[in-house]
Symmetry: D2
Subunit: 474 residues, 4 copies
């Protein structure tokens, strides 16, 4: 549906209570499924022997009762859901990456994107290394493996590796006897620590903790290495730094509204975005509505601030999953019609403020506006709860190519006209900076401003092999 896409959801558990770690990981990944729908995987560590299963597909496509049971019990487990950049559903790239190196086994789950991936890879290749995937995780695995040769412990090797790898990386890793959580020094991607009885868990978002009934302990700090073993939780903060830059889009779209990121509720942040939007772009209207589900929270905020009644203008078919019609359907309009329907009785004759979180190419937006007009809306005022996308992301968000971004091609008026709205307003950069002001970290807003918090690569690296796989059923 023409949205930016996040790359991954991570989970890890260190079991001190006789829990079924595979099932806990499965349930936690369910809560994180919105962070990645292309592949899923779980690895279970039973006294140093790792059993794992991963494949492309949604979690319930990858795991059934038998597959999950076959993983067996264990003391530690890690899990991953993944959004595959570009259109390739690559089974070879599914995570966790499970590997054996000089000190035994290591399972790695990664969320983010390295900015020096190509550089390190080239250097490794020139040392004779081979690559079987297109994942950052494989490069990270190599760097850790090499560092481990000269260091006395896995945590020290990880810290050393952090000096080499640049960019965005939240990691959940499992060595034979330890569960390890890492956030890059900028803290681009979130990672939280929770407690379930005597057991510890790590998860990309707090909603996964809630789904297990785990208590939130704290966020992993940007630059911190957290190690959980039989003696409890250890922390190393050597790589922590002053300047941090959490992806602001985690609040706008990626995270689930019931998650709390760096101390700020995502739902509240979105509501605030809507409130600020109402201040910045007021309009006379009869009803404020959100595009389901991405615009609903901000719409509540806009309504609250503006005093215009909140209502429902669009109904989403909750059964739409991976239907092949979406693929074969050439007419994008029809794809939108399958998914959304306008509520004539509610919009008939009304002036509507329609809220969404972002516009990428603008095509879906155009169909929705038309749908509302066909349903009898008198006016449609589009309000976007984030600034226009203008710059590519190098930290793990896939926003489509620069040329496809409507804001790069058209002026504000041009976009409004192209979409067919009566008026259009984007939240300002200032505005968005204020939606999570209590957070204990700084933000990255480079996609709006071009102010990249760290050095970024020059061009994309192209890959030379692909694994084409059969589409999943269900």
């Amino acid at each position: 549906m023409d949205k930016p896409r996040e790359e991954c959801g991570l989970f890890g558990i260190y079991n001190c209570d006789g829990l079924d770690v595979a099932e806990e990981t499965y349930l936690a990944l369910y809560a994180l499924q919105h962070r990645g729908q292309e592949s899923a995987g779980i690895a279970v560590n039973d006294n140093g022997v790792i059993a794992f299963h991963k494949d492309s597909g949604l979690l319930p496509e990858v795991f059934d009762e038998k597959t999950l049971n076959d993983l067996g019990g264990g003391q530690i487990a890690v899990g991953h859901v993944r959004y595959a950049p570009s259109d390739k559903q690559e089974r070879a790239n599914a995570q966790p990456l499970v590997m054996r190196y000089v000190k035994g086994t290591l399972a790695i789950c990664h969320n983010g994107a390295l900015t020096n991936y190509g550089e390190i890879k080239k250097e490794l290749e020139q040392g004779g290394s081979i690559f079987q995937t297109n994942c950052d995780a494989e490069v990270i695995a190599y760097v850790i493996a090499k560092e481990r040769l000269y260091t006395g412990s896995i945590e020290k090797a990880v810290q050393n590796a952090m000096k080499k790898i640049k960019g965005a990386y939240s990691l959940v890793m499992m060595s034979p006897r330890k569960l390890i959580g890492v956030r890059d020094p900028n803290g681009f991607r979130p990672l939280s620590i929770g407690r379930l009885g005597n057991s510890y868990v790590l998860a990309s978002e707090t909603c996964a903790l809630d789904s297990l009934g785990a208590q939130f302990v704290r966020d992993v700090r940007p630059g911190e290495v957290v190690v959980i073993d039989e003696e409890g939780i250890h922390s190393n903060t050597e790589q922590c730094q002053e300047n941090t830059s959490l992806c602001i889009f985690e609040y706008v779209y990626f995270s689930r509204p019931d998650s709390v990121v760096e101390g700020v509720s995502v739902h509240i942040a979105r509501q605030r975005a809507g409130m600020t939007l109402a201040k910045e772009h007021p309009v006379e209207a009869d009803m404020v509505c959100g595009v389901p589900d991405s615009g609903l929270d901000a719409a509540l905020g806009y309504a609250l601030e503006s005093g215009i009644p909140y209502g429902t203008a669009l109904i989403k078919n909750k059964y739409i999953g991976r239907t092949f019609i979406q693929e074969t359907q050439k007419k994008r309009e029809r794809a939108v019609m399958i998914k959304l329907n306008a509520l004539s009785a509610a919009v008939q004759g009304k002036r509507i403020v329609l809220i969404d979180d972002s516009i990428v190419r603008g095509t879906t937006c155009r169909h929705i506006v038309q749908m509302l007009r066909d349903a009898g809306a008198k006016e449609v005022h589009l309000r976007i709860s984030s600034p226009p996308f203008l710059y590519p992301c190098y930290f793990g968000t896939d926003i489509s190519s620069k040329n496809n971004l409507i804001a790069n091609r058209l002026t504000l008026d041009g976009i409004c006209q192209s979409i067919g709205a009566d008026s259009l307003g984007y939240l300002s950069v200032e505005g968005i900076r204020g939606i999570a002001k209590e957070a204990k970290v700084g933000f990255c807003d480079a996609c709006f401003t071009g102010n990249y918090p760290i050095e970024v690569p020059k061009g994309p690296q192209e890959d030379k092999f692909s694994q084409k796989i059969v589409p999943h059923k269900g």
Copy 2:
């Protein structure tokens, strides 16, 4: 999730425009999937030769691109989605029922429940008939086949059959050259006529028309037989009667909010229910919230009427499908936690009015109330946008057995206490009668009042064979 369940969604198309009738039917059934998730089927009629495919499972589990293409093209098609009463997922009972009789082939899709099913079946068996399913559709097929022996046309045979079969039945049928739509004289279940170019369609709900871009023509009248053939649309209203009784629960829960049933928007009816509820059971509170998705529309109405701000208290995981955890999970509480999460930041310290459409057993409700309290809600006032269920339905709604109905076991105070709410209010029977007052038909509210509009059977008929099938993946 402890809800009453409707039995079916119907669709039919008579093609005058070279449409791909299988694809149109597939898309329409997608829009009707909420009416039945246990099985799906499509039958395509190409010059009298019927190709069909049906199986247990959700639509995209039953049909993939190949299966749909294999149905080929045709002039007429019918489709069905089904909720299987009781826990049996019976592939043998999937519809359309395709049969051959003295005058050729007939495909039948049924929504509702016959009240004299057992009686007719017994009579047919005593005439030597055999039964291969547990469906009303099979009994209806027999009655039509027998009537057809003494009548000159299929429509006349259908009219005669309507004199024999009692109860709730909306039918979409396909004879070699005709598409036929029928509603029982009481009009228990909805059925609408639409137009797509020069082609006609029949659908249980108007949302299916919208999803195809078809224009709504009118509802089939209670008691009417509509026949569509190459000469256009024909109507016979001999069985139409004064007293009609559309299931009021179509407005409360079954139909999609974007559907219009008998001239009344379902969304508006639900909002009204919420408004009346606010008048009948006011309370001082800080926020009005709905249980997603069933209570959201009524919550909007309650907020509107009461002036208490509308907000979001619960987030639903939109990826929860057929996960086996739901089956294996003994602790119901956990199943609720996977599906819903409370929004602490929004409910913390607040007095919440929580709206849902109905309570069946009360177990889910109890977990939700607890979840809100755990999230910091100061008070939770439960408001239900329909009266208490007290009586069984014989017309195609599966409300669970009478003994399981909490309202039959406990007083209002008892229910409130059992659920753990601070207060509890149900919409009155009067109240619910008013939610769709512009409708051109009467209503059945027997589940609340026991006033059955027609005679009902004495006891349940038990079946003697079952088809046990493999649970579907995904």
Copy 3:
């Protein structure tokens, strides 16, 4: 591979030893899989409640551990494997046919073909009956259901039904408390009784008894109704008659060589056919070889009688199953190459006598002869261990249409030339009559002679609906 095809394999068990009847039936059907590869089904009767599962596909495609376990335990079970005539893989036609009628439930498995199917069906339709399949079993079910109305027991009803249905039918049926085996008065298709501890079993062939470790008791007599219940085994022979006509092709091709049909070993009968063939069509040669697997037994006989050494000329790929290449591959030659390969080292420079059981269209034969020549064979003398097919079968064998039969289009010389053999000899009609001379029944050899033992219908009945289903994987 261009062979005539049998329609079905039957099995039934009456459990007196706490056996897992579903598993026993599964194993028995495995031994009967050669009798039908298009669909499979098992029905289990637990105190009158029947659970069943059936689908298109090979046995291990239709049943996995879960499906089989889901059938549960029971006192009686019946199973069926089916070859679908024509190219339609119709799931709707899979058996057992499980039905409910005035006296409870009945599960029916049928092998054969009724000659008055169309007639009875028409009559039933004119009485208002409806048909949901294209199976003889459904017609048989109706006739039994109607007879049951006027008779005091199921066995009596079956006997009366036998007076109405004409043609070939072996039946294994299951009523709430009885297992019933029937053979038509001519005994076209085989059916045997076995004993497994205190339990009784019925099976199309004795190889199924062997696979369970069951003891052979006796064949069901042509015209006999065998009823097995808690009091043991009962027999009614009212419909038995003087003239019987077992399909001679059961010995030539259909039955497994390790089965014993009417007292004669199928392997021995085939060996004898080869011996007689050697007498009737001797030739000077260096090696006698069979086309695997259909010609191997007769080749042994030919070698034995002629004194020419038996050898191997063709190797069959034992992993060839349902590969889609067979479907998409237009060049039949390639399909043969995937399946068979000539053994150059064995045939180089040799004069080969090549034995097969029959020629239908001759295409495969031609490719095989060419393959042997390419491998260096000096001469290839084709010998067929049955007479030429000249007449259609109305009793359950699908030999391809009359026009496709090469023996109807060409003279012996013409066939030989078309196939490219150096000489060609068919077993004589006399010869084939002698291969099972100890059998206690007469034979039907109408496909060779046109002497139909009973009246046959005039033309084929065309069906008006088809169920097109997704091809199976694996």
Copy 4:
């Protein structure tokens, strides 16, 4: 069925005729399926971009029409079928191994076993390498990648790598523009070159060439590196050596009888083994029979030499595939009964010479002998067409652990008694050496003699992670 197991089948094609390389590879792997049933994979190279698909399962389980088509067209393709040692069906280990290194991509298919796998792996790990599989192919990939750093071409790098890796390895590899075939200097495993029009193919066995209609060119020489590119075929024989040692068991059991290995027909070699066996262990008897399919060829030879008639004593169910009954069935006897049945009519009262190719644990053998006695055989004389297994294989054959080998536990008499045969005779070591005497290579017979042609490792290497996957259906 208690047999030694080979590890792999290889295929490669360099396309000069516009062939569909994916389909040709699929067909060739079909012909090689007997060499590995646990996983299958194909990689297609289209101008340097490699598309691949691999998974655990039989070829038609891994590939369907869509998966194969999705691989697209290309100039080069390689394919692999694999037998997984031990019981783990490891998807992670499926081949081809597709990897990227400093000079682009490389796809590797391996058959054999390295004797210094553990050694090299340890060395690589100490240099910081990581391992994602348990395959020799991964180690080989690393060694080649490292050699490539200091050499000007892939073929030179391969030659250098051959100096480091020890043991048995036939390789089929694909670089961006070359197809490469390699055999280790001992030539433990076979590899042949064929020509299909202007295109070249490489295959483990000639039966794969036959199935494509390709002409046999020659075997790759032990120690030879064959490179096929747009200029044709190139050969480097620097690593060729005097002493070669083809696995003699390729003739006895592994290869298909219609293959020609090093100039000797496998079928003829087996027949000869039977003839020598007849000379070494004559016996008075009425019929010579083979255990299907492994003993049939040798039985023909025994019959030929002894003058005792060849016959059939055991029938094999040709539909037995991956049935779960085999897994769940605890009683081995029953598993044998499902697969094999004795032909009473043929063995009744006879003295049988029963031929098989080998005995591993002896359990299956015991059941078969008993089965023949139950069927009425008067005497059963077991003759084995190879010497007793006494020593483990380090070159890619999985014979079960030393302790399980019956010949290590019992004397000849003890084995005979344990199996219940009337007499027992094994082919002598001398005898087996003579079965392929025209071959242009020497043989490895270490499993019989303990004379390992090269140094072998001390103990087994244990792996630390496993991928447990769902058993495949069908």
